[in-house]
Symmetry: C2
Subunit: 90 residues, 2 copies
Amino acid sequence: MKFLGHVTVTLKRGVFDPQGVTVKNALHNLSFSETEAVRTGKYFEVVMESANPAEAEKRLNEMCDRLLVNPVIECYRCHVEPAEEMESAT
Amino acid sequence: MKFLGHVTVTLKRGVFDPQGVTVKNALHNLSFSETEAVRTGKYFEVVMESANPAEAEKRLNEMCDRLLVNPVIECYRCHVEPAEEMESAT
């Protein structure tokens, strides 16, 4: 069965995010003065074959731990959903 | 009132994603052979001051349209939530 995994990777609290600061300053320059802080991160969609949702989520967590996430400075959250209609996303 | 906006930016269907292909190949090399496709994207957290959730979401959409998203090749989804406890995320 095909699953679509969503992974959102963010910098841990306290890790400096110069890209976020730059975006915040740019938003201020565009008159979005209500913006107080911006943090940037990465996002992955993974289409995978798996027997069931629990197995897919387990494997997705392994992918995060082994490749997608740098555990020193990043944290992540992920979830999976059935993905029959996502096949063409390649 | 303080709100936390989440913005996920992805490439539109059909736009080639070499980074995603590279990640997929790397996952295969790490024995995650069930991976069929990977698409990469960006993620932003925006802490903002706003009168109410509807106003915050409207402003966040404007930020996406004017700075965060390239409408030629990218699409996005966003939502806001109350964010009292997120002040220290800077």
